[in-house]
Amino acid sequence: MRDLYQRLSLSPDATPQDIRRAVEACPNRALQQDAEAVLTVNEHRANYDTLHTTVSDIGQLRARLGLGHGAHWQGSVANDFAYPPDDGVGQHEALIGRVGHAAAHYNRWQRLRGPWLVTVAIVAAVCAGFAAGLALRLRLGTG
């Protein structure tokens, strides 16, 4: 399977007018015929787009996992859906890192007696509210 959008220098969400123009300007006869049959017929294009999304997702996955040259990834698919690997760390490694972070946060919270601090803060806030209300009432009463 080929990436017709890439071969026509189009983006996958190109409008039908753009596609028509690119197909007419295409100098390669065989490609022109295929692109006309696939992209200018709504029904065919919808079908092709669904598969195109899946295959480009797989292309991205392969790039990230270092499987860009697998034995099962040959021919025009491998040519057209090859992407440069982005330099993020692996998902699993990232997950472990985040779990570690979360655990450290939890430990610090426990060490600082976080729950007690929160209780004390709430009680203080409630007392302050009472006092303010009382003062206001007194002033209204005298005034």
Binding site: M1, C26, Q91, H105
Partner: protein, 298 residues
């Protein structure tokens, strides 16, 4: 420092008794989501069956939801878990399960062709092994996937569209033929009128011609007394294509040709689109023709 929230699949994985099984189930749900002609409840039931066979009390609901959302980060995480923690035999079992889920009804969707091959690469299963395994499980050989980016695929799978198109074209051709007939009649009338007029014009022109010839003879005599004639137009154009001035020597032409050919060679844009390559080869042809012509002239 804030941490990004844990995604639903990450939570499932952290709480799971067996991470490999959870990851396998997510990939199976991914395959199920890409099967054709299967309803939502059928998918759910199939995944529930697989989850029960693992025996860890997995809930298929959230997994099905994640797989249906095109959540590639979760899929990547599942793939990484499988690659990290799977032995060769276990990998074989996972592939076995994946093929079973993909080919329950005997057919394999195009998307699943690519997904199964991705899993085979991930689990280090050779093409020959995959084909044997597939043949055993599905009862049919695993051929190369069909190619919906080709005209031929749609001619086979949607012949109704082509029949309609042919009918439309035939109708257009008929209308055009009628128009052409009407136009021809009008043309004939016009031609007859033109012929009459041309005969008259020719007589006048002959008289003019005679006078002009005399004048031209006089001019030519004057020109011969000057220097030689300037280079013809085509040579100038060819020189312009190579970016050279009027009086370029043979070695200068060759040098300019080499430079331009290197600059515009189609192989330079090979990695870009086919359209770019075609444009470059047009430019290259023009440069080469200009050079060939100049080499003949000098």
């Amino acid at each position: 420092m804030p941490i990004a929230r844990f995604s639903p699949f990450e939570l499932l994985l952290l709480q799971s008794h067996s991470q490999v099984d959870t990851a396998t189930l997510l990939l199976q749900a991914w395959i199920l989501a890409h099967r054709d002609n299967v309803s939502e409840s059928q998918r759910y039931r199939r995944l529930a069956q697989e989850a029960a066979s693992c025996g860890h009390g997995h809930d298929p609901g959230p997994l099905m939801h994640i797989a249906g959302q095109r959540d590639m980060q979760s899929i990547q995480l599942a793939a990484e878990v499988l690659r990290r923690d799977c032995t060769a035999e276990h990998g074989f079992a996972v592939m076995h399960k994946a093929i079973a889920v993909a080919t329950d009804d005997g057919s394999l969707s195009l998307a699943n062709h690519y997904i199964l091959r991705f899993l085979a690469d991930l689990l280090n299963i050779a093409p020959a092994t995959l084909e044997t395994l597939f043949q055993e499980l599905a009862g049919a050989p695993l051929g190369p996937p069909q190619d919906p980016s080709q005209d031929a695929y749609w001619r086979k799978h949607n012949p109704a569209h082509y029949r309609r198109q042919a009918e439309r074209e035939a109708e257009q051709a008929r209308a055009q033929a009628e128009q052409a007939e009407a136009r021809q009649k009008a043309e004939q009338q016009r031609q007859q009128e033109q012929e009459r007029e041309q005969a008259r014009a020719q007589r006048e022109r002959q008289q003019h011609e005679h006078r002009r010839q005399q004048e031209r003879q006089r001019q030519q005599e004057r020109q011969h007394s000057h220097a030689s004639t300037p280079p013809p137009d085509r040579t100038l154009r060819a020189l312009a294509v190579l970016g050279l001035a009027r009086e370029a020597s043979r070695s200068e032409i060759r040098l300019a040709y080499r430079r331009m050919a290197q600059l515009h060679h189609p192989d330079r844009v090979f990695s870009q689109s086919e359209r770019q390559v075609a444009l470059a080869s047009q430019r290259f042809q023009r440069i080469k023709k200009a050079y060939d012509y100049l080499m003949q002239q000098h």
